[in-house]
C-alpha cells in the first residue's frame, strides 16, 4: 500500500472553511481588536461554510481518506445537511449573542473563536466514516463548549454549569472511546461500514459478551451528548447556568451533533438487534421523564432544557422501532432513520426560535430568569411573544406550529411502519403531557395578572437588538415555511 494518500480537498472544503473561520476570528481579534469586525468575520465564515456545504453536497457523495473500500470521511447528502444546519445555527447563535457581547462581561474574541471551533467539529461530524473520526469530531464540537458555558464572568451558576458539563461529558467520551477500543479488539474494524458488514456476515460475533459490552458503551456514551434519560442530569443545570446564546447552541447544535453521531453508529455500524431494544427503552424513558419533570419547572431555561430532553425522546423513538423484527426490514429502517433526521431538523429550527424569543424578551446579558419574569411580556414585546408562542406551540406539535405537527406525524408514521404501535401510543400520550407546560408558558406571556413581587431591576431595561430580532424572524419564517412544505425536510432527511 502506498504511503501517500490522495486527499479529496473538495470533500473537505466545508471543514476547511469552518476551521479557517476560527483562525480568521482569532487573527481579527488580535490585529483589529474591534468587536464588530470579529463577530462579522465569524458570521461570514459561517455563511461561507454553509454555502460550500450546499455546493459540495449538491454534487453527489465524495469519499476520502480511504483504506480499500472503507473511508473515514464520507461527504454525502446527510453530511451536507448536517454541515449546513450546524453553520446556519452557529450563525443564528452569533446573532443571539449580540446583547451578551455588548453587555461587556464576555470577551468577544474568545467567544467567537470558540463558537467557530465548535462549528468545525459539527461540520466534520456528519462526514465521519469511522469511530475515531466520529468521536474526535464530536469532541471538537463539545470541547469549546466547556469554556463557553463557564464564560459568564462572576457567575457561580455559570461555573457550576461548566464543571457539571465538563465532568459528565468527559466521562461520556471516555465510555465511547472504551467502547470503540473494545469493538476494535473484538472485530478488528473501526470503519462504520466495515463494522456493519462484519456484524451482518458473522452474527456469532454478537455472542461474545465483550462485543455486547462494547456496543452498549458506545451507545451510552453518545446518548449522554443527546441528553437522553438516564444520562440527562447535566442538561438542566448546564443550560440554566450557561449564557442564553450558549444554551441555545447546546440545545440545537450540540444536540444535533449527538443525534448525528448516534445515528451514524446505529445505522451503519452496530447491529440493530442489540441497539434497538436499548434505544426503545431510552426513548420511552427520555420523553416521559423529560415531560413529567418539565411540568414542575419554574425557571424558563430549565423548562426549555427539560422540554429538550423530552424532545430527544421523540428523536430516539423512531430508532426504537428497530427493537422488533418488523422494524428491521430495509424499508422500515430507512423510514426510521429518515424520521429521526427529519424530526431533528424540525426541532432545531423551533428550538432556535424559542431561544431567540427568550433572548429578545430578557434584558441584555441576563439569564433566562423565572417564568414569572415573563408574565405579561406580550404587552411589552408583542412580536417576540408571538414568536415564542409559535415556537412552543410547534414544539408541542399543534397548529399553527405546523412544522412540529408534521414532525410528530413523521415519527408516529415511521413507528407504525415498523410495527411499533405501542411506542407510537407512548409518543402520542407524551404529546399531551408536553402541551400542558408549553401552554403554561404561553398563558404566562399573555397573563394580565400583576407579577407576584418580582424584583424589577431598573437598570435592566430591554434592549431592542436588531440581530436578535432578525434571528427570531428568520427562524420563525423557516419554521412556517417547512410547516407548510414539510416535504422539503422529508426529502433532505431521506438522502
Amino acid at each position: 500500500m502506498s504511503m501517500v494518500q490522495t486527499v479529496d480537498n473538495i470533500a473537505l472544503l466545508p471543514a476547511y472553511l469552518a476551521a479557517g473561520t476560527a483562525v480568521l476570528v482569532l487573527l481579527a481579534d488580535l490585529l483589529v481588536a474591534r468587536a464588530r469586525v470579529t463577530v462579522s468575520a465569524a458570521a461570514l465564515g459561517a455563511l461561507a461554510t454553509a454555502a460550500s456545504a450546499i455546493f459540495v453536497g449538491g454534487g453527489g457523495e465524495r469519499r476520502t481518506f480511504c483504506v480499500g473500500a472503507d473511508c473515514s470521511y464520507v461527504f454525502g447528502g446527510r453530511a451536507a445537511l448536517v454541515a449546513v444546519l450546524v453553520a446556519l445555527l452557529t450563525l443564528g447563535v452569533l446573532g443571539l449573542s449580540g446583547p451578551l457581547l455588548r453587555a461587556g462581561a464576555t470577551p468577544v474574541g474568545e467567544y467567537c473563536f470558540l463558537l467557530a471551533a465548535s462549528m468545525t467539529g459539527g461540520v466534520a461530524l456528519g462526514a465521519a466514516g469511522d469511530l475515531i473520526t466520529l468521536i474526535v469530531a464530536l469532541e471538537t464540537l463539545t470541547l469549546p463548549l466547556y469554556v463557553l458555558v463557564g464564560l459568564r464572568r462572576g457567575s457561580l451558576a455559570s461555573i457550576e454549569a461548566a464543571v457539571t458539563f465538563f465532568v459528565v461529558s468527559v466521562v461520556a467520551t471516555t465510555l465511547s472511546l472504551l467502547g470503540a477500543a473494545l469493538l476494535y479488539a473484538s472485530t478488528g474494524a473501526l470503519h462504520l461500514g466495515r463494522l456493519g458488514v462484519l456484524f451482518a456476515e458473522q452474527p456469532e460475533l454478537l455472542d461474545i459478551p465483550l462485543t455486547t459490552v462494547a456496543v452498549a458503551l458506545v451507545v451510552v456514551g453518545l446518548t449522554v451528548k443527546v441528553a437522553a434519560v438516564p444520562f440527562h442530569a447535566w442538561a438542566p443545570t448546564t443550560y440554566d447556568g450557561a449564557p442564553l446564546p450558549v444554551a441555545a447552541y447546546l440545545s440545537t447544535v450540540s444536540k444535533l451533533g449527538g443525534v448525528v453521531a448516534l445515528l451514524a453508529v446505529v445505522q451503519y455500524a452496530l447491529p440493530a438487534r442489540t441497539t434497538g431494544p436499548v434505544l426503545a427503552l431510552l426513548a420511552v424513558l427520555t420523553m416521559t421523564v423529560g415531560n413529567l419533570v418539565a411540568l414542575r419547572q419554574r425557571r424558563t431555561v430549565r423548562l426549555l432544557a427539560w422540554s429538550s430532553v423530552a424532545q430527544a425522546g421523540y428523536i430516539l423513538a423512531p430508532l426504537g422501532a428497530l427493537a422488533l423484527a418488523a422494524g428491521r426490514t430495509a424499508d422500515a429502517r430507512a423510514a426510521a432513520y429518515a424520521a429521526a433526521v427529519a424530526y431533528t431538523v424540525f426541532f432545531v429550527v423551533l428550538e432556535l426560535a424559542a431561544f431567540a424569543a427568550v433572548v429578545a424578551l430578557r434584558p441584555a446579558g441576563a439569564d433566562g430568569g423565572t417564568l414569572d419574569e415573563l408574565r405579561g411580556a406580550a404587552r411589552r414585546r408583542p412580536w417576540a411573544a408571538v414568536g415564542l408562542a409559535l415556537a412552543l406551540v410547534g414544539l408541542a406539535g399543534l397548529p399553527p406550529g405546523l412544522a412540529g405537527l408534521f414532525a410528530k406525524v413523521t415519527v408516529v408514521r415511521s413507528l407504525l411502519d415498523g410495527g411499533a404501535g405501542w411506542l407510537a401510543l407512548v409518543v402520542a400520550v407524551n404529546a399531551v403531557l408536553g402541551l400542558a407546560y408549553y401552554l403554561r408558558v404561553v398563558a404566562v406571556l399573555w397573563s394580565t395578572d400583576r407579577p407576584a413581587a418580582v424584583p424589577t431591576d431598573p437598570a435592566a431595561v430591554l434592549v431592542r437588538a436588531k440581530p436578535v430580532a432578525a434571528v427570531l424572524a428568520a427562524a420563525t419564517v423557516v419554521a412556517l415555511v417547512v410547516g407548510f412544505a414539510p416535504q422539503l425536510v422529508l426529502d433532505l432527511a431521506a438522502r
Partner: protein, 504 residues
C-alpha cells in the same frame, strides 16, 4: 353548476375565513375589524350554500362503479407525498348541512360580537379567532384525506383555548386547560388511529378507503378502537365528557355557541365519516359497547341536569344527553340510525346554539346564572322568557320542532335492530328522553315562572335588535327543520345508503 365553479367554492369556503382572520388581525381599528370579520363570515356562508347545487350529476363520475363516498364537488392536490397527505376536499350530503350550520353559526357569532364584545381581550382578536376556528371546523367537515382531516381537527384546538382563556368566566384558566388537554388526548389517539389506517392500507384517501376495502380485520379493530376513543372525547361520550361542562360554562357566549353548536359535531361527523366509513368491521364489532355508552350518556346527562343549579352548566350537560342520542343512532349502524344522527347533529347545533345565546343574554342582564336567584323572567322580560321557552321545548324534542326527529328515530332505529340488548337500550333511551323533558321543564319553571326575584326584577323587558337578528335565523331553522326534516334528510339519503351499501 360546472365542476370548476364547485371547486372554486370549496376552496373559497376555507380561504375566505382564513383571509378574513388575517385581515382582522392586521387591522388596527377595532370596530372596522369586527365588521370585516362579519363580512368574511357572511361570504363564507354564501360560498357554502350553493355547494348543494349540481350535486347529483357529479355522483356517478368516478371511475369506481360504486364508491361509498360520492362527493358532489372535490378538489384534490398533492401536499406532502412523504406522509401520504393530499389537499383533498369534497362535500356531500353528510357534510353539507354541517358546513352550512358552521358557516351560519360563525356568522351569527361574529355579528353578535359586532354588537357586544365580552369583557376580556379586544373584539377584533375574538373575531379573528372565531374565523380561525371556523376554518378548522369547515376543513374537518370537508377533508377527504385522513391526514388532512387530522390536521384540520387540530387547527381548532388552540384558538378555542384562547377564546375561553381570553374572554371566559372567572374560572376560565382551569376550564380552558382541561379543554385543551382532554381534546388533545383525543386528537393524538386520532393521529395514531389515522396512521394505523394509512400504513395498513397505503393510502389516506377517504373515498378509496370507505367501505373497509383494503383493510383486514386486525387493523380495522385497532383503528376503530383508536378512532372511536378519539371522537368519543370530542363528541363527548360518557365517561370522557368531563371537559365539556367546564369549558361550555366558562366560555364567553359566542364561544359556547360554537363549542356546543358545531365543535362537538366534529366528533360525531368523524365517527360516521372516518371511523364507521373506514373500519366498518371494527364498527360492527364495537357497536354494542358504543350503544351502551351512548345510552349511559343519555341517562347520566339527564340525571345530572336534574341536579344542576347553574343555567349555562345545565345547558352544557344537556349536550351530553343529546349527543348520546346522536351516538346511539350511529351505533345502530342502520340507515335510519345514521340519518337520525345526522339530523340530531343539525338540530342540536341550532337549538343549543340558541339556548346558549339566550343563557348568555339572561346572564348579561341578571349578572348571575344561579337558578336559585332566577325566577319570574316571564313578568319582567316576556320576550326573552318566551324565546327561552321555545328553545327549551325544542330541545326536549317536541314533535314539529327540530329536536324531535333525531331523538325519536334514534330510538326507532335501536328498536328495529332488535334483540334484547338493543330493545333494552331503546327503552332506556326513551326513558332518558322523558328525563330530558323533566329537566327542561324544571328549568322553565324556575327561570320563567314564579315571583320575580330581586335580580330578575331589574331586568328590562327590551331585547336589542342585534339580538333578535342573531336569534331569528335559529328560531326559523328550528321550525323549518322540525316541519320539513327533508331539508337535511333529503341530501343525506343517498350518501348514507352509499356508506352502508358495502355492509352485508
Amino acid at each position: 353548476m360546472s365542476g370548476v365553479v364547485g371547486q372554486v367554492l370549496l376552496v373559497a369556503v376555507l380561504a375566505v375565513p382564513a383571509a378574513g382572520a388575517a385581515v382582522v388581525a392586521a387591522l388596527r381599528h377595532d370596530r372596522a375589524a369586527r365588521l370585516v370579520g362579519t363580512v368574511a363570515a357572511g361570504l363564507t356562508l354564501l360560498a357554502a350554500l350553493p355547494l348543494v347545487a349540481g350535486g347529483d350529476d357529479a355522483g356517478g363520475a368516478g371511475t369506481d362503479p360504486s364508491p361509498a363516498v360520492r362527493p358532489w364537488h372535490q378538489v384534490d392536490l398533492p401536499w406532502v407525498p412523504g406522509l401520504d397527505l393530499r389537499f383533498h376536499l369534497g362535500v356531500d350530503g353528510i357534510s353539507w348541512p354541517l358546513v352550512v350550520l358552521t358557516a351560519l353559526l360563525t356568522l351569527l357569532c361574529c355579528g353578535y360580537t359586532l354588537w357586544k364584545v365580552p369583557c376580556g381581550g379586544s373584539g377584533r382578536a375574538l373575531v379573528a379567532l372565531l374565523l380561525v376556528v371556523e376554518v378548522g371546523i369547515l376543513g374537518t367537515f370537508l377533508a377527504l384525506d385522513l391526514v388532512l382531516f387530522f390536521v384540520f381537527f387540530e387547527v381548532v384546538l388552540l384558538p378555542m383555548y384562547a377564546i375561553i382563556v381570553g374572554w371566559g368566566g372567572p374560572d376560565r384558566r382551569r376550564a380552558a386547560r382541561k379543554f385543551a388537554l382532554y381534546t388533545l388526548f383525543g386528537s393524538v389517539l386520532l393521529l395514531v388511529g389515522v396512521l394505523v389506517v394509512v400504513t395498513a392500507a397505503g393510502t389516506a384517501d377517504i373515498v378509496a378507503l370507505t367501505g373497509g376495502t383494503g383493510l383486514s380485520r386486525g387493523p380495522q379493530l385497532a383503528a376503530f378502537t383508536l378512532l372511536a376513543l378519539a371522537f368519543a372525547v370530542k363528541s363527548p361520550l360518557w365517561p370522557l365528557h368531563s371537559w365539556l361542562p367546564d369549558a361550555h360554562t366558562q366560555a364567553p357566549t359566542v364561544g359556547s355557541v360554537i363549542l356546543a353548536g358545531v365543535l362537538l359535531k366534529m366528533g360525531t361527523y368523524g365517527l360516521i365519516r372516518v371511523a364507521v366509513g373506514v373500519a366498518p368491521e371494527g364498527a360492527e364489532w364495537a357497536a354494542p359497547v358504543l350503544g351502551v355508552l351512548a345510552v349511559a350518556a343519555i341517562l347520566v346527562g339527564s340525571l345530572v341536569c336534574l341536579a344542576q343549579t347553574e343555567l349555562k352548566r345545565l345547558i352544557a350537560y344537556s349536550s351530553v344527553g343529546h349527543m348520546g342520542f346522536v351516538l346511539l343512532g350511529v351505533a345502530t349502524l342502520t340507515g335510519t340510525g345514521l340519518r337520525a344522527a345526522l339530523i340530531g347533529n343539525i338540530a342540536h347545533g341550532i337549538i343549543t346554539g340558541l339556548l346558549f345565546f339566550l343563557a348568555g343574554a339572561i346572564k348579561d342582564r341578571a349578572h348571575t346564572g344561579d337558578l336559585a336567584d332566577l325566577s319570574g323572567l316571564r313578568d319582567t322580560a316576556p320576550r326573552l322568557a318566551g324565546l327561552l321557552g321555545f328553545a327549551a321545548v325544542a330541545s326536549l324534542g317536541l314533535p314539529g320542532l327540530a329536536g324531535f326527529w333525531g331523538e325519536a328515530f334514534a330510538v326507532v332505529a335501536a328498536v328495529r335492530v332488535g334483540g334484547p340488548l338493543w330493545l333494552t337500550l331503546a327503552v332506556l333511551a326513551a326513558l332518558g328522553g322523558a328525563l330530558t323533558a323533566a329537566y327542561l321543564l324544571r328549568l322553565l319553571r324556575q327561570v320563567t315562572h314564579g315571583q320575580a326575584s330581586p335580580v330578575v326584577a331589574q331586568v328590562g323587558p327590551g331585547v336589542a335588535r342585534a339580538e333578535l337578528l342573531t336569534w331569528a335565523p335559529l328560531v326559523l331553522l328550528t321550525l323549518a327543520v322540525g316541519l320539513a326534516p327533508i331539508l337535511v334528510l333529503g341530501v343525506a339519503q343517498a350518501p348514507v345508503d352509499a356508506l352502508l351499501s358495502g355492509r352485508p
